[in-house]
């Protein structure tokens, strides 16, 4: 679940809420590190199911999801997430960007497709742009 450790932004300083979904905890931890200095409240989920239950409970500004996950892939998850939180910007991050059809990205209104391993600057820019900054 969500532990905004490290970034420690004060309630007034929070620049946005980012939900990160990946079945690999080490990835979650590394993504959190990458975004540490950006001043976001970062929530994490290891499965799409867990992420969906977070979305039921609260609103988020950005959803950053892995693609290859057990049970449900990232596109399917983001489609369900869009129903719950249509305002949240959706980003997909995967090691196999070529396997994700551009058609699906457009259809699901996905803002950016990021490659793993990721470039920190690129990641930060993508999340910032998703938040409209």
């Amino acid at each position: 679940m969500s532990t905004p450790a490290g970034s420690r932004p004060g309630a007034s300083q929070v620049r946005g809420v980012v939900l990160v979904v990946d079945d690999e905890t080490r990835i979650l931890s590394a993504l959190r590190r990458s975004l540490r200095r950006e001043g976001y409240e970062i929530l994490t989920a290891e499965t799409p199911a867990e992420a969906l239950s977070i979305l039921e409970a609260r609103s988020v500004d950005v959803i950053l999801s892995d693609h290859k996950m057990p049970g449900m892939n990232g596109l399917e998850f983001l489609a369900l997430a869009a129903i719950r939180r249509p305002q949240a910007a959706r980003l997909l991050i995967t090691g196999w960007t070529a396997e994700v059809p551009a058609r699906d990205l457009d259809a699901l209104g996905i803002r950016a497709l990021l490659a793993k391993p990721w470039d920190d600057a690129e990641l930060k820019a993508a999340v910032r742009s998703a938040l409209g900054r």
């Binding site: 450790a5 490290g6 420690r8 079945d23 690999e24 080490r26 990835i27 931890s29 590394a30 993504l31 590190r33 990458s34 540490r36 199911a49 290859k68 996950m69 057990p70 049970g71 449900m72 892939n73 399917e76 090691g95 196999w96 793993k116 391993p117 990721w118 920190d120």
Partner: protein, 671 residues
Amino acid sequence: MLTQSEPVVHVLIAQAARGAGPLAQTAAILGRLGADVRVASVETGAACLERVRAGGIDLVVLDLGLGAEARELLSALRGVGPPVVAVTPEPGTDVVRDAFLLGAAECVIAGPEYARVLPVVVLEQIRRWRALLERGAVEQRLRRLEHLNDAIVQAIPAALAVLGPDGRVVGVNPEFARAFGVDATRASGASLEEILPAGLLPRERLLGLLREATVREVELRVSTPVPGSGTATRSFDVRLARLDDEGRLLLVLWDVTEAEQLNRRLAELKRYNENIIQNMNSALLVVDREGRIAFANPTAEGILRGKLAELRGRSIWEWLSDTPRGRELLERTLREGVRFRGAETVITHPSGQVVPIGISCAPLQGANGRRVGAVAIFQDLSEIKELQRHVSQTERMASIGQLAAGVAHEINNPMGFIHANLCQMAEYLSDLRRLWERVGDLQAAIATGRADQIHAQSEKLAALSAEVDSDFVFSDFAKALRESQEGSERIRHIVQDLRQFSRNDSGDRTLADVTDCLDSTANIVGTMMKHTVVLRKEYEELPRIRCYPMQIKQVFMNLLVNAFQAIQERVGSSGETGEIRLETHRRSGGIVVVVSDTGIGIPPENLPRIFDPFFTTKEVGIGMGLGLSTSFSIVQRHGGALRVESKPGVGSRFEVFLPLTSGDSTPQPAA
């Protein structure tokens, strides 16, 4: 029936036994006529009639003295029997007249001249009777010949016409009438061109032929189009020959239309067969009972590398010398008449070059049904063999590609976070360096001993420490380092598995531990399916066996990938997992490896085909359908067996048996 060649004359005397005078001499008189005249006597009219009816009697000498009996006899024989010479001792004219009236041919008075007159009269009567009989026989023969001629003329399936010297029709037979649609009775007197189809024998031509036929027999073939039938024609063989001295001619027309058509079709059929044989892609070879080449089509010429003229008479064994199997098959066809198809063998050229061929043989039978040789059809399999090799290589590459993708995915995740952590740790390090610089500043201030400077530097250090969140940086630096180490350890493991998997990749037969082969394969394949599959292993201690470890691993990989895909198809994106169970057992004479899954299973109708090459139910691009057929042939090559059991909706179970043939296992200590 009397014939000219019959030399003996039979005379029957009908005379009462008693009597004297000249009549009593009758038999004696006739007896003197010679050995050619046989005389017999009867004493009653009834006996006489009986003898005549029995046949062979040329003349009856009848004693009118028999009275009523004599008259009855005359009436009975009249017109049907041999001539009757009546003899009477009474020279009364009434008696003589009565005898003539009743049908006697002659009447002789038994007077003093009796012995002289009777033989003359009898011989004359016999001559006449015989002449009469002969004429009858000739006429009968003629009549029979005429009947025969008529029958032939009526029944012969040729159109016959008798023509007068002027070319006009004297008569036609029924076939002529039928063939040309004319009335046989009205054909007489017509000119031939009027009744033959137009154009068959034009007038000028006919006249020429008629002239020619008076000198010699004419033979020719003519054709005429069938009206209203397009290109169809009718053809006739024509013969025109002089029939008799009156200048009449016999015209014979044989309808050969059908025969011509048959000939044409036969020629076409022959050409057609010839075409096929000459142009077929397969080599066709005919050999005699000793295996000598009698015929080779161009493809066979190509494969055997020689023209038919050079090949003919050479022994086919020259090419099959190194091939016991090909030789045996062909020999069995020649010796026992066994036919076989699609056997694979090779032919060896004199140069030593070996060409793989597929061969089918059938015995060749002569007209009397005896075997005279064999027909062999064969194909050069070089290209197909090459293609097969290529395809199975491609299939292997495909499964290795699939494997590589799975492995790459497993390596990419740790690479992803190690990469990100390294960047982050570099940032942490620069934060810490900045802190360390402040610490240096503080140390310098302490060295001055000035409290205000010490205080100021201490404040700066505290502010920077708060800014960089130093407590967090320290703890998270350690955590990032730990996690990265763990990630690199994972990569190291995967690489180790890969190394283990590809060990023994020399392609040679070596003594190997099949459990190791199974386990290292499972570790590699397992990484790509860990989300959907629980892998259970139940290994029994196995003896090592001599095998091709890389090939055995390929079998296990195919089975594992299939099991994985079967489970994927079953669970879809439900988030459920399936189970793959790996078991190894010892069994008498060998070892058994079982790969069972809880996937979708195989429909019963597909079960018999799953080991067939190119049979696949997977989407295009997932596989070429060679996985199981390749596995099957690998296991076969090891002398083992690959079996499957499956239930749709429940799962499949593949069992690999590998034999522990003598010398292949590690030596067992003596008991």
